[in-house]
């Protein structure tokens, strides 16, 4: 039966149902069901998931100053951004001002994460949706070298280097231990790159893996260690002493110079390897225009990377804040996270209970009462669902809405907002890419557009990293070495009750933590994470979320190889890494792939 959603999509669940069901423990569980028409085009999409419902389960009653350490462990991918969001929420609640250096260093930490995460996502989590590894074995190393040198000045591009990579890959494949390349849909007709482009991408996959370790050293300098860097309510846990020559712990000139050289090399890698690869790969997929979903009509960003400390105005955020609705790029609305009328979470299609499920609740008033019931059209049982009934409750993810609208968040959302606001740092690179590829602006609203925005943002982030590192050094040399404000460290200085909200733009989108503090302890803690926005189920009005919208109208080249589904879901960089079971319509397991 065909239905029209209020946010403008046509859903038809008449055709063959295909179930893609990753199972995971750590970052949550995402399952996806689609209906295919007789031409194997997706006409209905249902995204089912869990994000760990309610951090209050582990944080209630604990010291708010420790919350960051717990939130850092929620997930293995975006540790630092949860920690930063958490300390910002506590500071907002308690009215704590942070020193200028602390703001700068936090920006450096966050921009390092953006650069690193985007690079790793592109090469190690997403590229294999576009790059056929097995085809790379057929490439001519000489022709690969010619190709590589035609698109970039990156020095490592000799025929010998590509031959070496090909031999290593061959040995790896022949040993039968494909490892990260296991369970790919190699040879699927949806792969469009010639063997040489595939080999070039595989070589850069290895180079990026080798290089990424350099970037995270910045976290070790300012966060004390990596993985799991340290954070601090009131500033950063990082003493600075420019004249220091080797005393334990303090950041000195030698460490600052190390960071500086890492930034320079990261700029080179992103601008000479990542971006040229992105454009080269995109040039073979210009006809694959699917996956836009909500991006052309409803996108949102909380904004991040404050230029100055303690100024939360939209104008102070270098990554833009705002919301675009109904496809009207002429108007960017401001977003206020403490306004109870703006962000609300609905549960009509989520496995929770509210008193009135037609209404949404702001996170400060959030209620997390589970109610795992399945609709009458469900096939299977509660512990073995074969087909979900999306007319009823069907997800552990709540449905967050901004003034009632389902929103896409993430790099593409941020870049569409920057573009719509006419900010040159965003508008000019977008226009250059579109010109280089000879594409209209509408091409931005696609799976590929999402992937391209992430690449542009990686470059933006690493150049901003340069800016903030220089700003830090200049401020230190001017004699300001303060990194923390401890005046409200003691809970006796706190009000009896306080509430606050902290936000970041995580690599994968808008992240918010809402905290209620009572008698010095955490009373309530709610996190609305990027994948809650993008992976949300339907709301009471029937609006579909970003994943569901993006999958619609995409043709599958081979229906039991959901390469195109993974391609589009991965383009959101969803916060989950999981093994996937692909079920045939009768529920028999066909294939298992890894989704990261």
């Amino acid at each position: 039966m065909s239905i029209q959603t209020p946010n403008g999509f046509t859903l038809d669940n008449a055709g063959t149902r295909v179930v893609v069901d990753p199972v995971t423990r750590i970052e949550g569980h995402l399952r996806c069901e689609v209906n295919l028409d007789e031409h194997n085009v997706i006409r209905n999409a249902v995204s089912t998931g869990t994000m760990w419902r309610g951090l209050e389960v582990i944080l209630k009653g604990r010291d708010p100053r420790d919350a960051w350490a717990f939130t850092e462990r929620i997930c293995g991918v975006c540790t630092g951004t949860h920690a930063l969001t958490s300390v910002r929420a506590v500071e907002d609640a308690l009215g704590i001002q942070i020193p200028e250096n602390a703001n700068t260093i936090r920006n450096i930490m966050q921009l390092t994460l953006q650069s690193h995460d985007h690079l790793v996502h592109f090469y190690h989590l997403h590229a294999l949706d576009w790059v056929d590894v097995v085809s790379a074995l057929k490439a001519d190393p000489k022709a690969t070298s010619v190709l590589a040198q035609s698109i970039s000045a990156w020095p490592q591009s000799s025929p010998g280097w590509f031959r070496d990579v090909q031999n290593r890959l061959k040995r790896f494949v022949e040993s039968g231990q494909l490892g990260p390349f296991m369970n790919g849909y190699w040879g699927n007709p949806a792969y469009k790159l010639p063997p040489e482009a595939n080999l070039m991408a595989v070589a850069h996959y290895l180079e990026a893996l080798d290089f990424q370790r350099e970037i995270v050293k910045i976290h070790t300098v300012y966060g004390g260690k990596n993985p799991h860097p340290n954070w601090l309510v009131g500033g950063v846990p990082c003493a600075i002493n420019l004249d220091d020559t080797g005393a334990v712990g303090a950041v000195n000139m030698e460490r600052l110079n190390l960071v500086s050289s890492i930034i320079d090399r990261t700029i080179d890698f992103i601008d000479q390897v990542y971006l040229p690869d992105l454009l080269a790969i995109a040039s073979f997929y210009k006809d694959w225009t699917f996956g836009g979903g909500l991006s052309s009509q409803s996108v949102m960003s909380y904004g991040d990377i404050p230029e100055r400390a303690n100024d939360n105005s939209a104008a102070n955020q270098l990554l833009p804040r705002g919301a675009i609705i109904n496809g009207n790029l002429q108007e960017v609305h401001d977003v206020d996270l403490s306004d109870p009328a703006q962000i609300q979470e609905f549960v009509a299609h989520s496995w929770y209970t509210y008193e009135d499920e037609q209404k949404g609740l702001h996170p400060w008033d959030g209620v997390t009462e589970p109610n795992f019931v399945l609709g009458p059209k469900t096939k299977g049982t509660k512990t073995n669902i074969q087909e979900i009934d999306e007319d009823a409750k069907y997800s552990w993810i709540k449905a967050p809405r901004w003034r009632g609208h389902a929103m896409e968040v993430g790099p593409l959302a941020r870049w569409v907002i920057g573009y719509a606001k006419g900010m040159p740092e965003f508008k000019e690179p977008v226009e250059k890419v579109l010109t280089d590829l000879n594409l209209p602006v509408t091409a931005l609203f696609s799976t590929l557009g999402r992937t391209a925005a992430r690449g542009l943002e990686a470059s933006w982030a690493v150049h901003k990293l340069r800016y903030f590192q220089d700003k830090l050094v200049a401020n230190l040399k001017a004699g300001d070495s303060a990194t923390a404000n401890a005046t409200k460290w003691d809970p006796s200085t706190w009000p009896k009750e306080a509430r606050g909200v902290g936000t970041t733009e995580a690599p994968r989108g808008a992240l918010g933590h809402w905290i209620v503090i009572k008698d010095g302890r955490i009373e309530n803690y709610q996190a609305v994470v990027p994948t809650t926005w993008n992976g949300s189920p339907r709301d009471p009005a029937g609006n579909i979320g970003a994943f569901e919208a993006a999958l619609l109208n995409t043709p599958l080249a081979v229906p039991d190889q959901p390469l195109e589904i993974l391609r589009t879901l991965h383009s959101f960089d969803p916060c989950l890494a999981c093994s996937t079971h692909v079920m045939s319509p009768d529920g028999e397991e066909l294939t298992r792939v890894k989704v990261r």
Binding site: G61, A577, K594
Partner: protein, 209 residues
Amino acid sequence: MSEQTKILILGIGNVLWADEGFGVRAVEALAERYRFGPHVQLLDGGTQGIYLVDQVRWADVLVVFDAVDYGLPPGTLKRVEGAEVPRFMGAKKMSLHQTGFQEVLALADLLGDYPQHLLLIGVQPVELDDFGGSLRPPVKACIQPAIALALEFLAGFGIGWEVLEGHHERPLDLPDPALSLDAYESGRPSEVAAYRLGDPRVLAGVGGA
């Protein structure tokens, strides 16, 4: 083995998921009692997946503590060595980080820096599906025997150590003190206060708690 043999002792897993925290807790306990020379690194790897490739490439000898599904009775400690390690870690996928770690080893291999010696010290978990919970007693009881196995292995490479008494400074690459085993366990909210009910799939193994 020369003096310069580099040893990485890595604990992996998520401390927020009951026995999933075994690996991290074991390396934390090891650091509490023993101090090693500069060529031995103790690391809380959490669930970092491919971000651990660099540390693995650095190591000549890699010792991993982890919760592993061996198909053995809960609370059983088992050591696996050498070429068997990656196969074992991928045999039955219990959680994300295992798959991830098998991949870490494959990537280290692909980059040409595979450790020469590998030891996996794993425990069969009792309980994983308890968010915010800690190690179950039979698993906690495996920590000291697991450490003994690691020390025995290290002694085979001529590695020495110093036994620490009393309070001392916490090494850097371990969980923040707010997450240390004692603080983590004593600060846990009660079941009623935290409303730790719900998700039947998560609770399926708890016996309907």
